[in-house]
């Protein structure tokens, strides 16, 4: 596999905050990646450095083997769809698509037209008069129709309803199938996107804590539910990442795939096994990391799940 992006020891410091902390990873060609993590974890910072919209404090970034800064050869092959994309005053969606067509060599106008139809986007209205969801649709359409070799979608769906998001996912898969390219999707709606992702990168407080095949992570953790004493006996010696109790019943999330022998033991003990979704796993592990952090209060850890990954 060829890497289209290589990042070595990337660090970004804003005054006294360390936004990205000595991060190294590679992005392989023609795969769909999920870049997941809590708000403020460093996702957008990483993506803007990769697209030359921000500077690294230290470390090395290579895109298509080159430095991206002021490098048109590299930049015209990348498309970055941001959550809060700014467009010129008085521009209409049609103007925005016209500019995109000039900039992206692989722009596909029939695809753009079809997506405009799908999202029922008014193209003659000025962008500042569009609703939040319509504004997101403009970004999504540019991201898909540009057919850039690397496309970043940074929370592209703000204000898009469930139907419009499904259109986005379906069109992304459909177009990716016929025109393979590298896609990096940053999202809080992990359950919605997890099946689309071939690999996941989880970033937590400026560090990469997971860089794996999505399918390989799916049986990484399990919830063991049942009588507290029996649950405790089973999870003894295993890595427990979460625990809840109601009366004499406990639900404990353990890391590590269960072997057939484990399952037989669970059945014999009358314990139930419930699957852990990618979203739950990430919530648990990023919560776990917060709980082990220096100076993190219990209250911070408790708000993690509600506050972040919704």
């Amino acid at each position: 596999m060829t890497s289209v992006i290589e990042v070595k020891s990337l660090t970004k410091r804003y005054r006294d905050t360390l936004a990205v902390d000595d991060v190294s990873f590679a992005i392989e060609q023609n795969r769909i990646y999920g870049l997941l993590g809590r708000n403020g974890a460093g996702k957008t910072t990483v993506m803007s450095i990769l697209t030359a919209q921000n500077f690294a404090t230290s470390g090395e970034v290579r895109v298509f083997g080159e430095q991206p800064y002021e490098n048109t050869r590299v930049l015209s092959r990348m498309c970055f769809v941001r959550e809060s994309q700014k467009y010129p005053e008085d521009a209409t969606a049609r103007h925005a698509f016209g500019m995109a067509r000039l900039f992206f060599p692989r722009w596909d106008q029939p695809l753009a037209d079809r997506l405009i139809d799908d999202f029922q986007l008014p193209t003659k209205r000025t962008i500042k008069k569009l609703s939040r969801g319509q504004l997101s649709a403009v970004g999504v359409i540019i991201g898909l129709a540009s057919r850039a070799e690397i496309t970043f979608f940074d929370e592209p769906y703000l204000g898009l309803d469930a139907v419009a998001r499904q259109i986005f996912y379906d069109r992304l898969l459909e177009d990716y199938a016929t025109h393979p390219r590298t896609v990096i999707l940053s999202s809080h709606l992990i359950d919605e996107v997890s099946n689309l992702l071939e690999r996941v990168l989880v970033i937590d407080r400026g560090r990469i804590i997971m860089d794996e095949e999505t399918d390989a992570v799916r049986d990484r953790a399990a919830n063991i539910v049942g009588d507290s004493a029996a649950v405790d006996a089973f999870v003894a010696g295993r890595e427990v990442i979460h625990r809840e109790s109601l009366g004499r019943v406990s639900s404990v999330t353990v890391l590590g795939a269960l072997t057939p022998a484990d399952r037989a033991r669970l059945a014999a003990a009358g314990l139930d096994v419930a699957p852990v979704s990618l979203q739950q796993l990430i919530v648990r592990t990023t919560q776990h990391a917060a709980g082990n952090g220096v100076g993190e209060s219990a209250a911070d850890a408790a708000t993690t799940e509600e506050g972040a990954l919704r």
Binding site: I32, A177, E198, T214, D219
Partner: protein
Amino acid sequence: MIEDGRPIFLQIAESVEDAIVDGSLAEESQAPSTNELAAFHRINPATAAKGIAMLADKGVLYKRRGVGMFVAPGSRVRLLVERRAAFAESFVDPLLAEAQTLGLEPADLVALINDRAAARAAVSATIEGNPQ
């Protein structure tokens, strides 16, 4: 359709095997393509391809160059044998465990199974008798 907690490529492979076992995907007929599976299940095409590759390794599917994947002859019987072998563990063992919790003896279960089977047969006889 796709459940949490198990690799998706395994679930894709099983869904194709299900179709072969129940006869909806006949031997020597063309299996769904990776892209069709990806669009239908709304999953990453590479994951669907991994499921198909697994079935090809297993000899359930074979490739016709330039055309696609086809169901290998003899697959259905081989899958049936495999599934029957797994049946005791996946279905009978949990049944016995739950029966034990409820205080039902294996003999009670046998009687229960015969009763339900007779009731089912009666229902399907009625449906076949009145084709509406």
